[in-house]
Amino acid sequence: MPATDEQVTHHILSVLVENRFGVLSRVAGLFSRRGYNIFSLAVGPTEDERFSRMTIVVDAASAPLEQVTKQLNKLVPVIKITELASQDAVERELLLVTVRASAELRSQVMELSAIFEAKILDVGYEAITLMVAGPPDTLDAFTDLVTPYGIVELQRTGRIALPKLARRPVTLRAVRDRGA
């Protein structure tokens, strides 16, 4: 990663791309060529089958990120890029984790699962596999809490995100107008 004075933070890029082979490597190549680490990446179909949406979380200072975004925009299969600030987006992520849980500890793990609304996907003699969906920090918290029991395997999907909907507060006047 190039050294900069600027604060390095997570940036979420929501990238609408043509649904074709090779697009992922074009996009990923732009980051890797500049030495940026992609923190997480989720790709999936959208409401329009011609397009896919990539949600890319990248660690970079904002000035170099602007250059990456502009370069991304030059890729022919890239239709649109939106940078989502955390406070302006709804984000979700999925976590699968296999936790060591012998019969005597299983109920404790299940208690935590209930608090986080985790689903039990599989149960073995010495372990239990759970699924949690939620905002990334909820997943972080759950991971912290099950760590003492012993994590056998853990997998996260990387976040997906959409912009928050703009809502104007309803004023009295607006109400009156509607009534009129």
């Binding site: 490597s25 074009r26 060529r33 502009k70 370069q71 925009n73 890729l75 022919v76 239709i79």
Partner: protein
């Protein structure tokens, strides 16, 4: 109408107006070479695929139309990666067709297989792997569209052999459907207004004209802007000829080997109007010390260039020609509303710098032949509209400095990538595109040896290019750096003046060849070379190896610390 993929490909190239292509056949591209026999397209058979790519670039530089090259898979595709990268760096529109192993065996390490699309992804604007012959017309249309629109550049179409043999229903699309490729060409009116407001307040403005002027065919518009505003112009290495050197407002080339006035004008400017230029490190020197007092107007069709190196005060995304025309209109209107500052003091200062610090070298009578003298003699004994092509190194810098470029599209060189060996094939491509013009390649002995085999192509195809080798028996620019920055420790830079024997070598390739050892030899051999018009000519100029390119701003240094060199370092200089 049923056609094979191969026939559809050739027909699509014809539909795009391709008159000539440069290439070399091989296994995977064989099907496409067959219908070429019946095609109207002239094919020029190169001796190395790199040559095909640089010829396509030279053709595009000289004509403004996209150059087309076609080669086979594997090693042929990798051989054309250098020209693709060169074209990418210098924004040259070329379309490269590569053969590929049959679709069914891709990924099996088949004979002459390589991941061409993967390898060329970072050095093309876009590339395509054809997976269905039915898509060929759309892909070819898209390829030409992408290569020539927005910021021009190279594209590649990879055609598996079995796809070329498939049958398809011929059709020709009306246009392209590329939702992710919609370049902005018209400058934002408010930004144009803001730019003109800054221009109308500046007391020490400089136009920093880059290669984008030529790519946008904006040379005339630029001239109009200069004549309206009287603002002086520097023309970068990629923009030589975009504004006439003989024009009183032309300051010549800035940058690492730019002349004193061009470099210093930018350092002292209060406004830089960057038009199709990209603040390359070879122009700015140390960025933090570059033009410290200048506000910046930056016009470029590529939004990624704006703010990449230096944050502009007024960024304008758009085609240089359209934006300059808008600026001219706006400036005309603005000048009727208010008085613009008088630039007389600034112009006087620039004139003083010009007379105090001219480019200089000393050619002693009977002394060793100076490379600069060869270039000046060549310049003075060739038509004004001669197309000059160079390789990369000292000869390139001297040519750019000393030639008087008075017409756009007369200077062809490898700027961004700095590809040694560019000159010979690029000159051939330029001559094919502009057969009525005299084309001279000025090359170094190191460069010449990298691609000289293409003179065989030129001789076989009767393409009468002319090559002046400035043979100083060294990798001269590397030697210069070793002399100046590595305590004269010369590591692996000696090439020998007569191994190879350039005259014999050229003659063996079907060229006429001459040698010049002394200043007296120079003019007569140039005259003789100019008379040859049915085959290529090569002149071996035996030049003084000690000569260095000056002025020079050491890499990473500030432009204020320009070194003028022994011949120019006169009292009164810095």
């Amino acid at each position: 109408m049923k056609l094979t993929g191969a026939q559809a490909l050739i027909k699509s190239l014809e539909m795009e107006g391709t008159e000539v292509m440069f290439g070399l056949p091989g296994g995977a591209i064989l099907p496409v070479y067959d219908p070429l026999i019946e095609s109207s397209i002239r094919h020029i058979l190169v001796r190395h695929e790199q040559g095909a790519g640089h010829m396509a670039e030279g053709y595009a530089h000289a004509t403004g139309r996209p150059g087309v090259a076609m080669v086979t898979s594997g090693p042929a595709a990798t051989n054309i990666v250098t020209p693709l990268c060169d074209a990418y760096m210098d924004s040259v529109p070329i379309v490269v067709i590569t053969g590929q192993v049959p679709y069914a065996v891709i990924g099996t390490d088949a004979f002459q297989e390589c991941d061409t699309v993967g390898i060329t992804m970072p050095v093309t604007k876009h590339n395509w792997l054809v997976t269905d012959a039915q898509d060929i017309p759309e892909i070819v249309r898209e390829a030409f569209h992408v290569a020539t629109n927005g910021r021009p550049g190279p594209v590649l179409v990879d055609v598996p052999k079995d796809i070329a043999n498939q049958t398809m229903d011929w059709h020709w699309p009306d246009g392209v459907d590329l939702p992710g490729f919609k370049p902005t060409t018209r400058g934002h009116p408010k930004q144009v207004k803001d730019a003109v407001r800054l221009i109308g307040e500046a007391r020490r403005p400089v136009i920093y004209a880059g290669g984008g002027i030529l790519k946008a065919r904006a040379a005339e518009a630029l001239r109009e802007l200069v004549e309206l505003t009287d603002i002086p112009v520097v023309t970068t290495l990629m923009a030589r000829g975009a504004f006439p050197d003989d024009h009183p407002r032309c300051l010549g080339m800035p940058g690492m080997h730019g002349n004193y006035t061009a470099v210093t004008s930018m350092q002292h400017a209060d406004l830089l109007i960057a038009l199709g230029s990209r603040f390359d490190d070879r122009v700015t020197g140390k960025v933090s010390a570059f033009a410290p007092g200048a506000k910046i107007i930056h016009v470029d069709v590529d939004p990624a260039e704006l703010g990449k190196v230096r944050r502009p005060d007024v960024p304008i995304v758009g085609d240089c020609r359209l934006v300059i025309e808008e600026m001219v209109r706006e400036a005309r209107a603005d000048r009727t509303r208010r008085d613009w500052p008088d630039l007389a003091d600034w112009l006087r200062q620039l004139g003083e710098w010009q007379s105090d610090h001219p480019l200089a070298y000393e050619q002693d009578d009977g002394g060793p032949l100076k490379p600069q003298f060869c270039i000046e003699s060549l310049r003075d004994h060739t038509p004004d509209d001669t197309i000059v092509v160079s390789g990369v190194g000292q000869h390139q810098m001297w040519t750019s400095q000393l030639w008087r470029f008075n017409h756009p599209y007369t200077w062809v060189n490898s700027g961004g990538l700095g590809t040694m060996g560019f000159a010979v094939p690029a000159a051939i491509g330029a001559k094919v595109g502009k057969p009525e013009r005299m084309v001279w390649a000025v090359d170094g002995d190191g460069c010449f040896q990298m691609t000289a085999q293409e003179l065989t192509t030129a001789a076989a195809e009767r393409i009468p290019v002319k090559v002046a080798i400035l043979n100083n028996a060294y990798l001269g620019m590397v030697r210069q750096w070793q002399e100046l920055f590595y305590e004269e420790r010369y590591s692996e830079v000696y090439l020998s003046p007569d191994l190879p024997d350039y005259v014999k070598w050229a003659e063996a390739m079907g060229c006429v060849a001459f040698r010049a050892d002394t200043p007296e030899d120079v003019e007569p051999v140039i005259e003789k070379a100019n008379e040859v018009d049915d085959r290529p000519v090569v002149i071996d100029f035996r030049t003084d190896y000690r000569e260095k390119v000056y002025p020079m701003v050491p890499a990473g240094g500030s432009n204020d610390d320009i070194i003028l060199g022994p011949a120019t370092d006169k009292p009164g200089g810095r």
